[in-house]
Each structure stands twice: as structure tokens, then as C-alpha cells.
Symmetry: C2
Amino acid sequence: MLNNDDFNLLNTLFPAWQQLTTKQQQIISQNASLIQVKKNNFVHTTKEGCSGILIIKKGQLRVYTLSEQGKDITFYRLNDGDISILSASCVIKDITFDIYIEALTDCELIQILPCAFAKVMNENIYLEAITYKLATKRLCTVTWAMQQMMFTSFDKRLAEFLLNESNTTNSNEINMTHEQIAKLMGSAREVVTRMLKYFSTEGYVEITRGKVKIINKQALEKL
Amino acid sequence: MLNNDDFNLLNTLFPAWQQLTTKQQQIISQNASLIQVKKNNFVHTTKEGCSGILIIKKGQLRVYTLSEQGKDITFYRLNDGDISILSASCVIKDITFDIYIEALTDCELIQILPCAFAKVMNENIYLEAITYKLATKRLCTVTWAMQQMMFTSFDKRLAEFLLNESNTTNSNEINMTHEQIAKLMGSAREVVTRMLKYFSTEGYVEITRGKVKIINKQALEKL
């Protein structure tokens, strides 16, 4: 059960909350609980089955896939207020591919049990529509990420990554180690370091300890 | 405009038709037309923009993606009665990845203009729910196909392809040339021929002109 503050969070973050009946709202809140996940721990793995719907109260999650050989592709990241839907493979039954979710920071999550969510979704067309709309959005991002990985050469991908980070944080400085960049890009540290050195020689970026500064944005965009 | 027969087809094939108002049904049918596409022609390419919703009256479509270098991945195929939803990138606005659709046979398609479809979908929650549910289903298949392509070795993929074809047609004989198999798998003829020869040496299949016969199903399943 949730405390009052967390119940109010459902009110603002749960999809289509206003379109649920009082009874349906009760079912959801009675089957919701606050969970804490420490940084670097798994929130969801395919092998452990369905983790239900997760609302991120605080923290950052990384959603990715992993091959048998350990190759790793980041699909997307989720932040405060976002909803994790692809973790609910028993609600969205077409999810047959492998998916992993890890905590990039210490996280507080509201977890809604899949059986309760599925029951209300089957009764309420508004919740059904918004759930599948969100799933479509996430899966389009997944498809785009996989296309990038398969088809785009690494210099382009790294440039896009740096420009994206710079846009998101509204700063030319990206406060990440090469190791962190490599992990988020599904690459190896050596590969990132090599390409960043190349970018630096070309005058695109400046590299200092744990930081990458964009000097020539236009050049990166042209890659 | 559609003739009476094709209008009746909408009645059975259009998603959530019974939940549309008479007015909404009129909007859809007034913006629907029957189009003929010859075998091997494009039905949709990313560059040409949004092709709307396509209902396959007759024929087979292949939905795939293509890299700048011409590498090709089959996402799925659509048959009589199926609905093509990922061709409507202006209805499902999150579709930002490249997608191509070609006719594998001569096709008859009912095309619904995207603006009309979007208008009705925005008014009608049932159509919205079923549209995003279908998009989710297709995108899960896309994700699965890309995972196979990236992570599974080719012998496994070819075995899965042959077993799938055999299941679909309910026959041990797959009536396709190596060229056709290669195209559908997003591979090259030489690679398919090489692997089929290997399968044949191992006693998994028998190869004759334009045909592959499965001899040892269990062995293929074990790969």
C-alpha cells in the first residue's frame, strides 16, 4: 500500500487516472507499492518474467538489450515521472524480445502489479488506448536505436550522442567518463576513447578528466 | 470511392468498424480507394512520406528496412485481410525510422487517406486503442526481427526461417529459390546456398531446383 504522498503521485503520473472509476482507482492503488532500487542493480530482466508497470518517482533507469555474447544496446533512458511499460510483458503480450532495465542512480519506483493493471486495462478503453500509445512510442524509439546501431558508422553515432547530451543538459560540457559513454552507447571504452581522440585532433571537442567539451558543434552535426 | 463489394470489405476488415458512428464510417469510406500494385513494385518508402492505412484485399506485402549501403532486413510479411499500419507515419507520429514496403505478388489494396483516418481516430477512442494495439504488435515483431538479425548466428536464422515456412504452409517442402530465401532473410544468395549445402550434407534438408525439403526437423530445431 502507498502512503498519501505516493497516492497523490499516482493521481498525477498514472495514465488516464481521471478516466478510471473510483473502483478502478482503488484496484490500482491497492496493488501499487513503493520500491527502492540501488544504483547499478537490475530492475527487470527477461528471465525473471514480468515486472509490471513502473512509475519513476525519482532516479534514472536504462532500458537495453543484451546478446548471448554480452553485446549491449541502449534503447532509451527513463527519468523522474516517466513510466516503464516494456517491463510489463504479461500486459503487452507481444513483447517476446529480450529486455533489461537497470538503475543508473538510486531509484524510487512505484510498481503496479501486472494482473491488477491488466484487469483495469481490459475494462477501461481509455487506459487501454493510452497504454498502447505509450508502448508504440517506446517501441519506435527501440527500432530507431537498433537501426542506428546496425547501420550508422560509429563516428556519426558518437557525434549524435554528444549533441543529444549537450541538448538535454543545455550545456556544451558533457560530464561523463569514456567508460560511461561507452556503456550508454553499447560500445567499448577503447572505441570511444579512440574516436574522441580523433574528434579532439580535428578540433571538434576538448577532452579533460571525466568531461568532454564540444568546441565545433557544426562539424559534429555534419558527420 | 469504393464499390459495394469493397465497402463490405471495410465492414469486416477495418478495425473497430462497429464502434464508429455512421458519420465516421462515411468519412472513412469516402477517403478510401482501391489501388492495384504490380509484383516487385514499392507500396511505401520513407522518402515518399506517409502512405496511410492499407488493407490487403489480395496479395502479399513485405515490410522491411534498408541501410544506406543497401543492407536489407525483413520485418514481416502481410497477407490477405491484414492491415498495414506502419505505413502511416503521419498517423503514428513516433515512426521516425526508415521503413519500406514492397509487393511480393500482384496486390489489391484498400488505401485510407491518413488525414481522414487520423481525424476519426482522434474522435473515437475505440479506433485509437485498436490502432495503437496493432502498432505495438507490429513493432514487437520488428524489434524481435532486428534482435535475431543482430544476435543470432546465420545457421540458427536459416533453420528458423525454414521451420516457420514449413509451419505456415503446413508442408515439409519450401517452394522457394535460394535467391528468394536470401531476399526475405535480408541476406545474400551465396550465403544461403552455402548454408543450405551444409544442411544438406548434414542430412537436415534435401535440395532440388527451386525447392527445399525438410528431412530432419528435430536437427533444425536444435540449432
